[in-house]
Point group: C2
Chain length 286, copies 2
């Protein structure tokens, strides 16, 4: 599909994507750049890495597709660094969870250049971090949202869609602002919630948690995610996340009031509403 | 272990317990009582049911151990109905998620009788309901909390501990009030939260949820639980649950304030606290 692909930042997602590219045979050469020398050494031993480069410039200059797999606050600085090193008609994408500000900035950087930036958000993650936990399976059947700007190249967009599809992902396109509002609800809010639930247990210890069932385990799983990655997501999508938190706070308050009033009918209705929305979530993921 | 065991209410938990009793060969005969004739008919075809009785009296009169596997608001009415039908030294237990009020009432009912009531709470459930989803595996390695009263028979307690152990559960004892405060946090609060998270999505549809990753699925799983069962749990443990909700609301507010203030250091610290408590939850369940 491509002659050369570059993965900048071979962490959990970058590593998983590189593995899937090799597995599906989508590129002749896979170029990797990692910040630390230790990571570059490790990459050079993997069968999904043809060349682990010491410099960013070497890592990107031959590539047709460049994936910036770094935390959201590092994407634009990284793109600025490589913009003048890229081949004509190179396609650059990212894997960040926030899109509006990144795509706006990236479009500014592209102005007057023959480089195409299109934002991607593969909705594939894990509470585990780093290359050691990477797996091509992570991407299988997961959603990947692209946020092309209105005037982006149709050819570049078609190639990028084809790429994520070939990795086994379910591709769709949304406006960047629409994306940010949606993921604030379906991804960022659950993360804040799982974290807040955990911190509300500050007075409990290991022995208390031994009594817990599978419900607690599932509800808190994502709170295990990287504070570094999530700190920048929460900052970059602050406005939308605060709206989503406001809405949730109202719902929690509603439950609390019904319980305080021992209003069994309203409790039942609220639980039934929750159950029916949960059924939709399940249905959507089948 | 026992000559005769009765399961009153062969739903998800009652059915799973009956299956495990048969699998581990813990009783010569398993007696079942279900409210509906259709359920009794269905039970009579299962290899974990020796006798599906039409009357409660017939279902319990020969048994050494009686398990009341009905919703929490039905346990005491059910126990009142059978108390005069029981054999001397029969042990009665339940599987309810709330213990203090139930154990108090049950002890009153036992007064002057030769029957032993000891509360049990097997922390094994599923968002799926009913006998059709029952499985002996549900109980394997799960926690089972007993809440014996101070003056309960040591022999009866030892037998009941031995019973749950033999089913593959990890048995521990807590005071009934202590149990209720703990499960308000580690079980009832996550349920309210998962439900409230779902109802906060009232403006989203199937197409929106198609974009979601595994995090949303896990965080909302338990919201699929039975509104009937959870309505009575939330009512019976209202005071403790409201305390737990208050604590959670403070934590959510704290996250929101940090995000509003774009206070990256405090966001990071809060996420790190959440992550470290999540690690404890994971460690406790290994």
């Amino acid at each position: 599909m491509f002659e050369n692909i570059s993965i900048i930042g071979p962490g959990l997602l970058g590593g998983s994507i590189a593995m899937a590219i090799r597995e599906k045979n989508l590129s002749k050469q896979i170029h990797i750049w990692a910040r630390s020398e230790a990571s570059r050494m490790k990459c050079s031993e993997q069968d999904w890495c043809d060349l682990a480069h010491d410099t960013l410039s070497d890592a990107v200059k031959e590539s047709d597709l460049i994936l910036l797999c770094v935390p959201v606050d590092k994407i634009i600085p990284m793109f600025s660094k490589i913009i003048n090193e890229l081949k004509p008609d190179a396609i650059v994408t990212d894997v960040g969870s926030v899109k509006e500000s990144i795509c706006e900035e990236a479009n500014k950087i592209c102005m007057g250049k023959t480089v195409h930036f299109i934002g991607s958000h593969p909705m594939a993650g894990s509470e585990k971090q780093g290359m050691d936990n990477a797996s091509a399976k992570l991407l299988q059947n997961a959603s990947c949202i692209l946020t092309p700007s209105k005037d982006c190249s149709n050819i570049a967009l078609a190639k990028l869609e084809q790429f994520w599809n070939a990795l086994g992902m379910k591709v769709s396109c949304l406006g960047a602002a629409q994306h940010d509002a949606l993921v604030a609800k379906i991804s960022h809010l659950p993360h804040v919630l799982a974290s807040a639930l955990c911190t509300s247990f500050g007075d409990l210890g290991l022995d208390d948690f031994k009594h817990a069932g599978g419900g607690l385990k599932d509800t808190t799983r994502i709170a295990g995610g990287s504070p570094e990655i999530w700190e920048s997501i929460l900052l970059q999508n602050a406005t939308e996340i605060i709206d989503a938190i406001d809405q949730l706070e109202r719902e929690i308050k509603r439950f609390k009031t019904h319980i305080q009033n021992k209003d069994s009918k309203s409790i039942h209705e609220a639980l039934k509403d929750g159950q029916s929305i949960r059924k939709k979530i399940e249905e959507a993921q089948q």
